[in-house]
């Protein structure tokens, strides 16, 4: 436990809170890598998931991708990627983060659209909406809760993967752990671990809040939901 106290001392040392290796710089790097990757993931996965869900194809593919994803060792994929001609750049890290962030958003968007009440879609068609309008005005809004759930899972996945990427290259808070590892500095490793864990929990809490905010039916659902959570 002495190491843990030393880690807290490491965190209290103002020398570690400035400069290019300082905590704030690493934090900004981590957030930048995470948000740009998450943005790319959403831009790719939401339209594709919407379209696949709309035409009702590719369901097995989407499920299989997320099943296989669990068996793939993130660390091995990152190292292999860095040893290809892509090399050690920020963009290689971002490509890897996007690859690991795509499956949850894709599957959740697909399932979200498939679970939209068919009657609502039929009613929209009956009102003369074309395919684009049905997707934009009916399926997308009703699928939002599940889409945001996918984005939440992807965000947590990306924050964790960015930490692993620091073992290979790239910045972010993971760098504090791996730099400590390289130097055999255990207090620094533990301090980095505390920071990474805090960031992951913060991102999860933020996304959970967002998830509750964007649910279009939350006003209707509010009462039964609180009733149930009190009963459990």
């Amino acid at each position: 436990m002495n190491d843990f106290l030393d880690a807290l001392r490491w965190l209290g040392d103002s020398a570690h809170w400035s400069g290019p290796d300082g905590v704030p710089t690493r934090f900004v790097e981590h957030m930048w890598l995470t948000s740009i990757s998450l943005l790319i993931v959403c831009v790719i996965a939401i339209p594709v998931g919407l379209w696949l869900g709309h035409i009702g194809r590719g369901g097995t593919l989407a499920i299989n991708i997320s099943n296989v994803g669990r068996a793939v060792p993130t660390f091995a994929v990152l190292v292999l990627l860095f040893m290809t001609p892509l090399g050690l750049s920020d963009w290689t890290v971002i490509i890897a983060l996007v690859v690991f962030g795509l499956p949850p958003v894709l599957t959740n968007t697909y399932v979200g659209v498939r679970e939209v009440d068919r009657d609502a879609v039929d009613a929209a068609r009956g009102m003369g909406m074309d395919a684009m309008q049905v997707m934009r005005k009916v399926e997308l809004p009703l699928a939002v809760p599940l889409i945001v759930n996918g984005v939440r899972l992807a965000a947590v996945q990306i924050v964790a993967t960015a930490t692993v990427a620091a073992l290979v290259a790239g910045g972010g808070l993971g760098r504090i752990i791996t730099a400590g590892f390289g130097r055999g500095d255990r207090p620094q490793m533990i301090a980095g671990a505390i920071l990474v864990a805090a960031l992951a929990l913060l991102v999860e809490a933020l996304m959970e809040w967002l998830q509750r905010r964007v649910d279009p039916l939350r006003r209707i659902r509010r009462r039964p939901l609180t009733a149930r959570s009190a009963a459990v």
């Binding site: 060792p73 190292v79 924050v159 533990i190 992951a200």
Partner: protein
């Protein structure tokens, strides 16, 4: 050896000792973590079934733990168990809980009430009911969770490299440091093969353990 090709049979031949050692460590860490995780999950799931308040606590805590990235988890445990395989195993056990406790609870909850009633009518007590009726019926769901837990444990063991006990992950990091492609590729392929093999073994074991399900159309 200047070419640094991805595939190098010579590497596999001359370093087979190292590769086998890393593979053994990987399998050992995975098996210990999954077995301990499964045993612990059983106890927690049974407690959660008995006391509903405890269920919310267990599920909540394990979900929060699951959010912590594994490198950070190993880093935090480092302050308690040091640079040992124990650190990796404890971390992996904590991760497996979220999958296994849920799986066991879902499996046990899925036992049809009339089957339970019939067993009670035949004079089954709670222990015999659990062992002879509920567990066999819950086995498919439990094994499904076990497959997910095992496969992700095998993948995550590689990150034990951060405390010097990552099995095949140690080879991957060393290959990266020395920019030696065959070492990285060989170790990576072995991790994936190991995961697939473990998955197959569990599927086969489930088939052997549930003879009454054979011939039933799979959903």
């Amino acid at each position: 050896m200047v070419r640094n090709d991805w595939v190098c049979p010579e590497y596999v031949q001359t370093r087979s000792g190292e590769i086998t050692d890393a593979l053994q460590q990987h399998v050992w860490i995975t098996v210990v973590a999954v077995v301990v995780g499964l045993a612990l999950s059983f106890v927690l799931a049974l407690l959660a079934r008995r006391y509903r308040r405890f269920a919310a606590l267990i599920l909540g805590t394990s979900t929060v733990l699951y959010t912590v990235p594994s490198l950070a988890m190993f880093g935090l445990l480092l302050s308690v168990t040091g640079l040992t395989a124990t650190t990796v195993i404890v971390g992996l056990v904590l991760y497996s809980l979220v999958i296994l406790v849920r799986g066991i609870m879902t499996g046990l909850d899925g036992v049809p009430p009339d089957v339970r009633e019939a067993a009670v009518g035949m004079g089954y007590g709670p222990v015999r009911m659990l062992l002879r009726v509920e567990l066999p019926l819950a086995l498919p769901t439990i094994v499904a969770a076990l497959r997910v837990a095992t496969v992700s444990t095998i993948a995550m063991t590689t990150l034990g490299v951060i405390v010097g006990h990552g099995g095949l992950g140690d080879l991957i990091l060393r290959g990266l440091r020395s920019n030696f492609r065959p070492e990285v590729l060989t170790a990576s392929v072995l991790v994936v093969v190991l995961a697939l093999l473990a998955d197959l073994i569990l599927v086969a074991a489930l088939r052997l353990a549930t003879p009454w399900r054979r011939g039933v159309a799979r959903a």
